[in-house]
Every structure is written in structure tokens, then in C-alpha cells.
Amino acid sequence: MPSEVNLSAEDLLGLYRRMLLIRRIEERLGEDFKRGDLPGPVHLYIGEEAVATGVCAHLTDADWIASTHRGHGHFLAKGGDPRLLVAEVYGREGGACRGMGGSMHVADFSKGILGANGIVGGGIGLAVGAALAAQLDRKGAVSVAFFGDGAANQGVLMEALNVSALWKLPLVLVCENNGFSEFSPTATVTVGAIADRAKPFGVPSAAVDGNDVIAVWQAARAAVRRARAGEGPSLLECRTYRLRGHVESEASFLQGSYRSDAEVADWATRDPIARLAGYLDQNGLAPASAREAIEAEVAAAVAAAVAYATASPYPAPDQARQFMFA
């Protein structure tokens, strides 16, 4: 953990609560998938919760985020309602998108969530546009593009770096380097450090330990402040690890394995939630009872979300013809 911490015990417990909510909701969705209860694919964020949590802690509903196909964590970290998330993944009428989009498209524009995105890199352009809108509005709002190491190899990132630096847009580019482009280890498809890709544009960048929520929080604070001050974009490369597969169904179609069990086990020892718990303990910042209370609170929120989603009906078939045009 970094030496300089600008977070109170209360702040840290807030980060802990948010990470745990993401974890427990997704563990439940993973179980649902295994039982065959989910209609479509889910890409879980387990192991990467510190990134969305540490960044979104600096944002309000007036700020924008664009997310990825692995987007449940961003949705929840930005204040999305877990009931609406679970109901959406269940394909129900009461879902965030009324069952029209599912896991890969969870969005809540009233919370500044431009949506998860099924196209790798697809959210980057949307975030640049929201940053332009924020700049024109002159109310100090910022826009954050979450994207993976895979998207860092899409050309749109270079276009976004150029135009956002040129126009000094209030944009924070957050690369979640989770080690894999789908099933290809990042090093086999990527040259150099992703954080370095900002350098030729004069855009400040940093590579941070993405499993350390305090490190992410600190780096994001600087980037968000810079954006709010009208000084332009930043790039954060958060180095983390995808503890789950690319997609929960992958065992059903993959023949070989693309990583070793030992590698996964090694990264599991660096679990961001356990790390923050350890930090709180070692520094006497919160009694174990505080974390137990959060665990119970989160369990209740998960149960409520599942109950809400299960009780919500499937949409009427004629809804399939709605919403194409305003």
C-alpha cells in the first residue's frame, strides 16, 4: 500500500463496501450462469474491483463513464442500482434497460453511465463525446473511459488521445490491463507499456497497481482533478488480473487452457478486497466487526437484488419492436 493515504477509515470502509458489493453480486451471477439460469453470456469483473471503485469514488452523477463488455463493476461503482443490474442480466422487464441489452449493455444515463459496450474499444468514442459535452457545459464535469488492454490495441485509442489532448477535453482514460485479450495473454498481442502510449501526445500517464484500491484512488484523484481544472486528459494503466475466465461459458468451448492454475492462484493472493481488509486490520483502522457488518449489509443487498429481479416479469414480446426510434 502507498505510504501517503488521504483516506479516512470511513472512506476506506466505503471503498471496501463498494468492492464487496461488486464481488458478491458477480459471484451470484456466476452461480446463476453455472446453473443455466442466465439467458446470455456474462463476463465477470472478479479480481478487478479496485479499478472501478477507486476511480468512480471521485465521480458524481453529473460525471460520465463509458464501460466495457465486463461492465457490471463500473455500473455498480458509479452508483447503478444492483436490483436493476441483476434484473437486466436476468432479461427482465424491471432491468436497467428493460431487458433490451442484458449484461453487455447495462446503462443508466441518469447516473452518468453511458453503458457497458459489446464492442472492444466501443466506449472510448462515446466518452470523448461526453467529455466534449462536459467541456461545452462548463460545469466542471468529467468523462471517464474504461477499457481493457485489448482495446488499447484498437486504433480509436490513438484518435482519442490526439483529439482529447488537442482540445484539452476533461477526459480520463482508464485502461484495465487484466492480462488477457479474451484468451490471448496480453504480452502475446501487445508491445510496450500501455501507459507509455500517452507520452507522444503529451498526455500525463501512470501505471498503477490495479489491485490496490488506494493506489488507484490516488492516481485517479490526480487525473480527475486535472480534467476538472480544464487541463486535459490523462491515461491510467491499472495493472490487475482477471481471476475468472473471459466469459463464464468458456469451459464449454475451449479445448486447451491459456493460463496455468498456479498463475491464477498467485494472483488470487493479491485479491484487492482481501488486501484492503488486511490493510485495515494491520493499521487498526476498523474492527473486524465493521467488516462483518458490511458483509451482512452486502449480502442483504444481493438478496434484495435477486428477489427484485426474480419477481420482475419477462418483457411482453411486443416490446421487441419498441425503442428503435424516439
Binding site: 436497467a96 434497460c97 433490451m100 453503458g115 466534449l132 461545452l136 490526439n162 426510434f325 424516439a326
Partner: protein, 323 residues
């Protein structure tokens, strides 16, 4: 009425809508100097916040338009040549066309992507496509192709006010064509065709730049005692099926002229719609006058050999009438 060139009419529509609504913004490559003339003067009038040159970056530009619209603006994204829409296609096809739908109708996406389309100026294959059919097929995009200055102005104003993504395609190289434009404020609704010339013997549907040669063909045919009813759909998505079908039921004959390649052209769709709806009234198989399934060549005689012209259109009408 005032006499206006096509490009002036478009320029007026942009200026009027930007003056009317401060949320309308315009960006694209070289929109400040305006190589086509349609955005000329707007940067000076509305300033650098609302009128901006972008780098050459269609991939992020088309996505940026979606993000800015989702965040409350009404962007006009100037693509210059319609072929460059392909370079920005992910954001158009995967984001703009679907974001409202897949998020359950949470937002409106008032975006206009504008550019020039079509052949006839020796611009060769990568600057001459008629790409409107593929946008018709995306489902979530409105497609507008004006054929006259008055239509261009009224339709563009409606496109900017529309709460959905619109592709506005102006025929390349026809910016200098003049026509009468109303002096008072007006708009033309999207989804309403116009009968450009009434007739009783054959329905001649012509799209975009094909309206003018279709009207010339109709004049020639009138001299032969054939009265062609020329219909300009003006917007292809939504398509005013009722006006076309009503005409075909009356005339019993249909020829559709389209500058797109034959396979899956807008003409193919219009023929299919009319055939299904007016089968009993048809007295002959409908015909399409389109561009063959090849790219557009550079050399003038080669290009001319492909494009529908008044002679080919008139020949198709004579054939369907058995003359």
C-alpha cells in the same frame, strides 16, 4: 421564393438551426474553411465551441457524436465524402443505431451525419459510392437524400430537430444546382415523399440525384404520349410506402431509379414493397434502373456508361409499357 443553390440552402439550414438551438454543434474535417461550401461562415458566426475542425479521425469522430448526443447536445457530424462513413462505421452501426434500443429507450440520440454521395465527377471508386441502402438496413438510422435545394433545406432542418440519428446525403457535385426556396421559415417532415410530376401511365420513383434525369425522361416520354408520375421518396428510412403504393395501384406499372449498386439497392426494396402491396394492380413486372454490381471507375466514358441517365430511364419505361 428565393433562388438558391443546393449548397447555399444547406448552409442556410445549418445557420438557422444553430441560431435557433444553442445545443446544435457542428464538427468535422475542414468544416471551418468548408471545402464544399456548406459550412462556410458558420465558424465565424457561432465560434470555436460550436463549430470545430476535427483531425482526420472518423473512428472517434462518429463515436464522439453519439457521446455528445447522449450528454445532451445535437451534434452535426460532417463526414465530407460519404465513403468516409465506412471508416467511422463502428460507432454508426454498433453505437448510434442501437444505443437507444439496447438501453431500453433511456435516451434520445439527435445526431446528423452528413456527407456527399454518388458518382459523376471522376472521383473514382473510393469517393463515389451511393451507400444509402446499407444505412437503410441498419434499422436505427434515418436516411435522407434531398434532390432539390428547397428539399435539402427543409429536410436538413427536420433532421437536426429529429431526436434520432440521421444520415443526410447530398449528391456529390450537384451543390451548384439552383432552385426556388421559400423565403419564410419552413421544414419538410421526414418520411413524406413528394410527387414531382403527376402522371397516369407509369410510376417512376427516383432517388436523390436520379430525380433530375427521371424528370427529363418523363418530359421526353410525354412527347411520346406516355405520362409518367415521378415520385421522390426524399427519405428512405422511414420510407413513405403509402404514396408509392397508391401511385402504383393507379398506374399498374413501376420503374425505380437508384444510383446504388443493383444488389440490395433501395430500388430493390421499393420494388419488393410495391409488389407485395399492389400485386393485383400490376400490369407488368416492375423494373429497376440501377448501377451494375461494380465499383465506380475514374475515366469519364466509363463512369457515364454505368450511371442511370434519361435515355436508360426512358428505355425502361418504354419496355415496361411494351413500346
Amino acid at each position: 421564393m428565393a433562388r438558391r443553390r443546393m449548397i447555399q440552402a444547406i448552409n442556410e439550414a445549418l445557420a438557422e438551426e444553430m441560431a435557433r438551438d444553442p445545443r446544435v454543434i457542428l464538427f468535422g474535417e475542414d468544416v471551418e474553411i468548408s471545402i464544399m461550401g456548406d459550412t462556410r461562415g458558420l465558424h465565424a458566426t457561432f465560434g470555436p465551441d460550436r463549430v470545430r475542425n476535427t483531425p482526420i479521425c472518423e473512428t472517434v469522430m462518429t463515436g464522439m457524436a453519439v457521446g455528445a448526443a447522449a450528454a445532451g447536445y445535437r451534434p452535426v457530424c460532417h463526414m465530407m465524402y460519404g465513403n468516409f462513413l465506412y471508416t467511422g462505421m463502428d460507432a454508426i452501426a454498433n453505437q448510434a443505431a442501437k444505443l437507444r434500443y439496447m438501453t431500453g429507450g433511456q435516451i434520445k440520440l439527435p445526431v446528423v451525419y452528413m456527407g456527399v454521395f454518388g458518382a459523376g465527377r471522376s472521383s473514382a471508386a473510393q469517393h463515389s459510392d451511393a451507400m444509402h441502402p446499407m444505412f437503410m438496413n441498419l434499422g436505427g438510422i434515418k436516411v435522407v437524400l434531398p434532390a432539390s435545394p428547397a428539399d435539402a433545406k427543409g429536410l436538413l432542418k427536420s433532421a437536426i430537430r429529429d431526436d434520432n440519428p440521421v444520415i443526410f446525403l447530398q449528391a456529390a457535385g450537384r451543390g451548384g444546382e439552383a432552385g426556388d426556396v421559400p423565403e419564410e421559415e419552413y421544414t419538410i417532415p421526414l418520411g413524406v415523399a413528394e410527387v414531382k410530376r403527376p402522371g397516369s401511365d407509369v410510376t417512376l420513383v427516383a432517388i436523390g440525384a436520379m430525380v433530375r434525369p427521371a424528370l427529363r425522361a418523363a418530359e421526353t416520354l410525354a412527347g411520346e404520349g406516355i405520362e409518367a408520375e415521378v415520385i421522390d421518396p426524399r427519405t428512405l428510412m422511414p420510407l413513405d410506402q403509402a404514396t408509392i403504393v397508391e401511385s402504383v395501384r393507379r398506374t399498374g406499372r413501376l420503374v425505380v431509379v437508384d444510383e446504388a449498386r443493383d444488389t440490395c439497392s433501395a430500388a430493390s426494396h421499393i420494388v419488393a414493397v410495391a409488389t407485395e402491396a399492389a400485386w393485383g394492380a400490376l400490369r407488368a413486372a416492375p423494373r429497376r434502373v440501377t448501377v451494375p454490381d461494380v465499383a465506380i471507375p475514374y475515366s469519364p466514358p466509363l463512369e457515364k456508361a454505368l450511371l442511370p441517365d434519361p435515355e436508360r430511364i426512358a428505355a425502361a419505361v418504354r419496355a415496361i409499357l411494351g413500346r
